[in-house]
Amino acid sequence: MARKHKTKANGVAGASIVVVGAGVVGSLVARELTRYEGEVRIVEREPDVGWGVTKANSAIVHAGFHERPGTCSARFCVEGNAVFADVCRDLEVPFGRTGAYVLALAEGERAVLEELRGRGEELGVPGLALLDGGEVRKRLPDVNPEVVAALWAPSVGITEPWALAVAAAENAVANGAILHVGEEVTGLTVHGGRVRAVRTDQATYDVDAVVNAAGLAADRIAALAGITVPGLTPRRGEYLLLVDVPPSLREAVLFPVPTAHSKGILVVPTVDGGLLLGPTAADLPPTQREATETTVEGLAFALNGARRLVPDLPVGKVVKVFAGLRPEPADGDFWLGETDIRGFYQAAGMRSPGLTAAPAIARWLAGEIAADLGLAPRPSFSPLRLALPRAADLPPAEWNALIARDPRYGRIVCRCNRVTEGEIAAAIGRGARTVDGVKFRTRAGFGRCQGGTCTDRILALLARETGRDPEEVPVQGPGSALVVGRVR
């Protein structure tokens, strides 16, 4: 695991730390670092938080039974799962402990379930149980009737990964961290075996420590520090997203038995009433770090795989297809902790279950850094963050009170997900500058019509609230304007 240097830096008062990357990992690490004295900067090259690997994955809080005992993945997955609900409660992020079933569809697959259970129990995964086919069919009337057995894992949950990244970054900022979005780390100054400064396309920051949480670019950041890492393979996972599916299909996460290569094609309920089918697992050439396009073959594979678990999926409810890239480390495990370069720490190689592991890794890593730098706890730290109000989910009296304070909370902009103008304005107030930024923070445009009804109003609100012309409002990053000019 971590190569630890026993000697500590001599209690740098007001140490400066830069976290590279504001995905779920970097944001949580930054938040944990604000528990201690010092200056924490988060530098993110995208215009918003959580737009890397964190944006496109299965969003499952895994139990841990898929992991090999003795690995960092196993340890932090189990630990992460144990603290996930608490972190989500403190940060007001959606979390649902749905539980999961691993389905054996042939007699030969029973043995795999036994093995997973054995592994899980060794790791301390709570509540695992083997169920026979009859019991599974009773609990899940929609699954493939050929199911012969299942492993039930009650500790599995689902969350909203980008919401967790945004929440953690907001909480970090509330505790004094400085968030730089749209700023790219371009170099590191290393001197005498110690990292001294971080160079970006906009500034140079003197540092006592750097945390490499750069997701798919983590090997490049490591190279900037002059260290060699085992190499990252982008492993693409393609998905289909369904909305408004019947509750019977959204009971729990469904897995097939895993292969040596991946956990297989899953059927996963989302926290907002949808259903994900996927992911595929295709290894791409190492240079293809942005290849998040879907393919004919991948989508067909995902759909067929999901149909093996649930034969009658309401395919007419598909509203979106997308893909994410796993940063698959060549050595098969996370890269965590301090490196041969003093002050250069990693929370990288974040393959699945990196999302699950993130809160536990963050807690552990911040503790390591604080100990190494001799940082004192900061008494004013507050772990609590308030989410944007989700007006339509409030009890009527509270929603009315909100409207009485600000009538914009009574005006629905996104009909599908019932997002009000008040929420959109608040999201902009908290830093959303793009159409996707509003979408990921509020779910406006994320529903059955995929923004066909509300995108023009969101654009108008973004332009008005940020004092820009509509032509200047991007959907994603620079060069992604939604409209290009005025009619003649």
């Binding site: 879907t294 297809v321 005006r411 019509c449 066909g452 409209v483 005025r486």
Partner: protein, 411 residues
């Protein structure tokens, strides 16, 4: 929460809702219309092209002009704009709404659902590739151009040759956007022939039949798409693929009835629209339906007519003047893609609205076991066929449990 009592609640202020509210009020019912948008009109508001009202007013009006006429008739009804319907209770005609003045519960005696339809997004087609900016459903592009005065792009391709796609191709061309073509997966256009001529041919915009988009390219902003020809069953032939450089993709691949606020109301399995009788009454007796939430209609005139009928029936129901009547289910037989209504009341005159599955030079529409028939020329899926049955004809269908409607070719 404040409770507001009315006889008839109308949900949606498009053509259907406005016509329904006006006629319910004319019947003497205390009527409330709620519309989410800041003004009435629904899709009419953004349709600045002419082509509305030829049947109803015998004049060619623009969408906003047509909406204006309907609005004039609305005097007797209360109208709340900026008010969204959240949900209707399953067991009784009570609804929750919200607006800038807060939540209001509406206690009604009858409800007319007229929430229109939404456009199918590109994702529903499962087209592979990237997801850059520059992909718009046609209605969104239409609002950006006609309402906000904003240009969605410089070089566009339209997917889907229904009327909306055709009209947007012309609209964008007139605004100086280079429209490289309209692609249609079927071997015939989806829209009215007059729109193919007036929107494409007159401006030299190519129509590519039996073609579809097989891949989307570009990061940040759209850089182009790959088009391919499809075989007889609509499957793309990869060897025909070619790249077209565009920064804008306009998607017009169908409308989906908006019925999510009333999950308990039975739907037509083909369209997902509300199932209703010739009185526009659903199997939930106090719930009536009108407009595109039944099935997408081509002509606003039809929508308005059905709206009026729904409003009248709802008002009568509210004052207990609509006597319950047995209904006979209407089923889609071979050759029929869309059929409204889903039930008929024997002994009452009815107009059936149906869409054929295929174009046919000459066809016979057959209704029921005894085969009341009508011969129709030039059947095209783009144009709804209207078949009127007399009270005597519907009465004769009373004994059948299920009546099937078929469209067969005549040679």
């Amino acid at each position: 929460m404040r409770t507001h009592r009315v006889d008839v609640l109308v949900v949606g202020g498009g053509a259907a809702g406005m016509a329904a509210a006006a006629s319910a009020a004319r019947e003497g019912a205390k009527t409330l219309l709620v519309e989410e948008g800041s003004r009435l009109g629904g899709v009419l508001d953004q349709c600045i092209h002419p082509g509305f009202g030829l049947h109803r007013y015998r004049e060619e009006l623009t969408g906003p002009e047509f909406a204006h006429r309907l609005r004039e008739d609305l005097r007797g009804a209360d109208v709340w704009t900026g008010q969204s319907l959240l949900e209707v209770e399953p067991g009784r005609p009570r609804a929750r709404t919200v607006g800038a003045a807060g939540l209001v519960e509406i206690a009604a005696k009858a409800v007319v659902w007229a929430a229109g339809a939404r456009e199918r997004p590109l994702g529903a087609l499962r087209v592979p590739g990237t997801r850059p900016a520059g992909i718009f459903v046609a209605g969104l592009a239409q609002r950006l151009v006609n309402i906000h005065g904003l240009l969605p792009g410089r070089r566009a391709l339209v997917v889907g040759s229904g009327d909306i796609g055709l009209i947007m191709a012309r609209r964008l061309h007139l605004e100086g956007v280079e429209v490289t073509g309209v692609v249609e997966i079927r071997p015939y256009p989806g829209g009215l022939l007059r729109n193919v001529v007036q929107c494409l041919d007159d401006f030299g915009i190519p129509l590519l039949l039996s073609h579809t988009v097989v891949e989307v390219h570009g990061r940040g902003r759209l850089s182009g798409v790959t088009l391919a020809e499809v075989d007889g069953s609509g499957i793309p032939r990869p060897e025909t693929g070619r790249f077209v450089e565009v920064d804008t993709l306009i998607i017009s691949v169908g409308l989906v009835p908006e019925v999510e606020g009333i999950p308990f109301a039975p739907r037509d399995p083909a369209t997902g629209g509300l199932a209703a009788s010739t009185r526009l009454q659903t199997p939930v007796p106090w719930l009536f339906a009108a407009g595109n939430c039944l099935a997408p209609f081509d002509l606003v005139d039809t929508v308005a007519t059905l709206g009026e009928r729904a409003g009248t029936a709802a008002a009568r129901y509210a004052r207990r003047g609509l006597s319950p009547a047995p209904t006979v289910a209407l089923g889609r037989g071979p050759g029929v893609a869309v059929l409204v209504p889903s039930f008929l009341v024997p002994g009452e005159e009815v107009t059936l609205y149906l869409r054929a599955s295929l174009p046919l030079a000459q066809a016979r529409v057959t209704v029921g076991p005894d085969g009341f028939g009508r011969v129709v020329r030039g059947v095209r899926p783009a144009e709804m066929i209207e078949v009127r049955l007399s009270p005597e004809e519907t009465k004769a269908l009373a004994r059948s449990r299920n009546v099937t409607v078929e469209v067969t070719t005549l040679r």
